[in-house]
C-alpha cells in the first residue's frame, strides 16, 4: 500500500524542510502539521521554500518525521500505535534527548510527552545510586549532608 495514498490529504501539498546539517526532507502537509510550528506556518500561508531548522540534525529529523507519518495514518489502530510508540522510544539516551529537544522545538505535544515519560520511567523504582549511574550524575553531597538526607528519607530509601 503506497504511503502517500492517504484519503485524508485534500491538497497533496508537501513541505520542504532543511535540517541543521543541510539535509532536506519533503513531507506531506497532513503529516507535518503534527508539529504546531508547521501547523501555524501552513495556516498563515508562509510554508513556501525550504524551512530551515537550525536546531535539529538530519538523523533526528528523519526519526521525528517517521513518527509523525505513523501518527497521521488514519488506518492505524490505537493498539498498533501504542506498540509502535513503545518500540520507537526504546532508544539510547543520546537519541532520546535529541528526540526530546526536537519535539520541544517543533512543538509536537504527543511526542514530547512520550519521550518525557520514557525518561521518567528510567527513574521510577530506582535507588539514588542507580539513578546516578543511569544519568552519570556525580554525588556532590558532603558525607554529613548525605547522612541527613538519608535520615530524613529512610522510609523511601530502604536499609
Amino acid at each position: 500500500m503506497s504511503s502517500s495514498s492517504s484519503p485524508m490529504q485534500s491538497t497533496g501539498r508537501k513541505l520542504k524542510l532543511k535540517s541543521k546539517d543541510d539535509e532536506t526532507f519533503e513531507v506531506e502537509e497532513a503529516v507535518a502539521v503534527k508539529s504546531q510550528i508547521f501547523k501555524y506556518m501552513v495556516e498563515d500561508g508562509v510554508s513556501n521554500g525550504p524551512i530551515p531548522l537550525p536546531n535539529v540534525n538530519g538523523k533526528t529529523l528523519a526519526r521525528v518525521l517517521q513518527w509523525c507519518q505513523k501518527h497521521a495514518d488514519p488506518t492505524i489502530t490505537e493498539d498498533e500505535l501504542n506498540k509502535y510508540d513503545a518500540g520507537f522510544i526504546d532508544v539510547d539516551q543520546a537519541v532520546l534527548y535529541d528526540l526530546l529537544m526536537a519535539a520541544n522545538y517543533l512543538n509536537i505535544e504527543e511526542l514530547l510527552k512520550l519521550a518525557c515519560m520514557r525518561v521518567a520511567d528510567m527513574i521510577k523504582g530506582k535507588s539514588p545510586d542507580e539513578i546516578r549511574r543511569t544519568f552519570n550524575i556525580k554525588n556532590d553531597f558532603t558525607p554529613e549532608e548525605e547522612e541527613e538526607v538519608r535520615k530524613e528519607n529512610a522510609w523511601a530509601l530502604g536499609p
Binding site: 520541544n104 527513574i123 554525588n139 522510609w155
Partner: protein, 363 residues
Amino acid sequence: MEACTDFLDLLDFDISLKILTYLEDPSDLVRVSSVSQSWRNFVIANGLWKQLCLRMFPQLSRVAHVIGLNKCRATEPVEAGSSHSKEWESLERNDRGYALLARACTSFIVRDCISEAISASSTDNYPEESIDNTLAALRASYWSSKGQSNPEVPERLTYKLADDFCVITEINIRPFQAYFQRGEPIYSAKDVRFRMGHLKGPTDVGNDLLGDLSPVSADDKFIWTYTSQEFPMAQESRLQKFKLPEPVLCVGGILQIELLGRVQRQEMDGLFYTCMSYVQVMGRLLSPTFGVEILEPSGKFVLEIKNNTLVEFQPQPNIPSADQLERRFRDLQHIAYIGNILQGNVVVDMDEFEMGEEEANLS
C-alpha cells in the same frame, strides 16, 4: 557503554520539570531528592513535593502557607533579613512539609475516624432512635428520620471526626432492617452524598446540640468545602461501602452524609422513613504530626508541621460512658421485648450482638 548525561544539566528547564512531574509515587520523588545537590535543589526550588501533593489532593489549593517547627539550623552566618535566604527557607519548609504530608497520606493506618455524632436533620422518637445509635455496630441499634409523605425529602447526618485534618478514603453505611415489622422492611435511602467542611466561627460544637436540629440551623453552623458525587444505595441491610474516587483531605473535621430520597414506607402510618444502623468513616488521621488553622472568611488554611518526623495518632482506649452503657442495655432489652412479642418466631442473628472494634478492645 551507552553515553549517559544528567538531563537536568542538558535539557531546558521546562522539559526537566515536565519529566519529574511524571513521578507520581512519593518514594520516587524522595529518591530523586537524594541523588545530588543540584537535583535536590531542583526539587525544592520548583516545589515538586507541593505539586505532587496538589495532584493527589486538590483540596490543598486552599493552603495559605506552611509553618514549621522553629528549629535553629546551624549554618554559616547569613545576612539578617536577606530576602534570598528567607525565600529559600520558605521553599525548604514547603519541601519538607509536603514530603511529610505525602508520606502520611499514603502510609498511616486507615481507621474509623468518627469521634461523635453531631446532629440529624430529623429524628423519630428522640432519644431512643437518635443519630448516636449509628456509632454502634449492633444491628438492633439505629437512627430513624421522621416520617414524610413525600419520598423526595432528604435527610442529613452530621458527624465530628477525631481530627481536624484527615484523609478520608471511604464511608461505610448499613441501612436499618426493621426485624420487628412485618416483611422486615429495609429503610435505606435511594442515593447518598457526602460533604466535608468545618465549623463556622470559634465556638465548640460539643454536646450542646440536640439530636433534632432543623436542617437550616445545622447547615448555618458549617462551611462545606467538599461535596462528593451521588452514590446509589442498595436496599440491603449489609454494610455498604462508598469508596471516594480519590482520597479526600478533610480540613475542619466535619463530615455530613446526605441521604437523598426514601424508598420504604412504614405500613403502620403510610409514611416514608429513612433509618440507618451503622456508619463508619474510614481514613487516616494526620495529627499529631500536622495541624491546621482555618483562616476565615477566605476558607484558606495554614498547614502546620508540628513534628519533624511522622508521628501517628494513637487512639485512647474507649471506655464507654454511663450513658453509652445505659443505651446498650436499653437496646438489648428492646430485642428481648420484641422477641417475646413475636413469641420466639424471630430468629435472632448473632450479629446483633456483634461489638464494634472499640468495644471489643476494652481491657
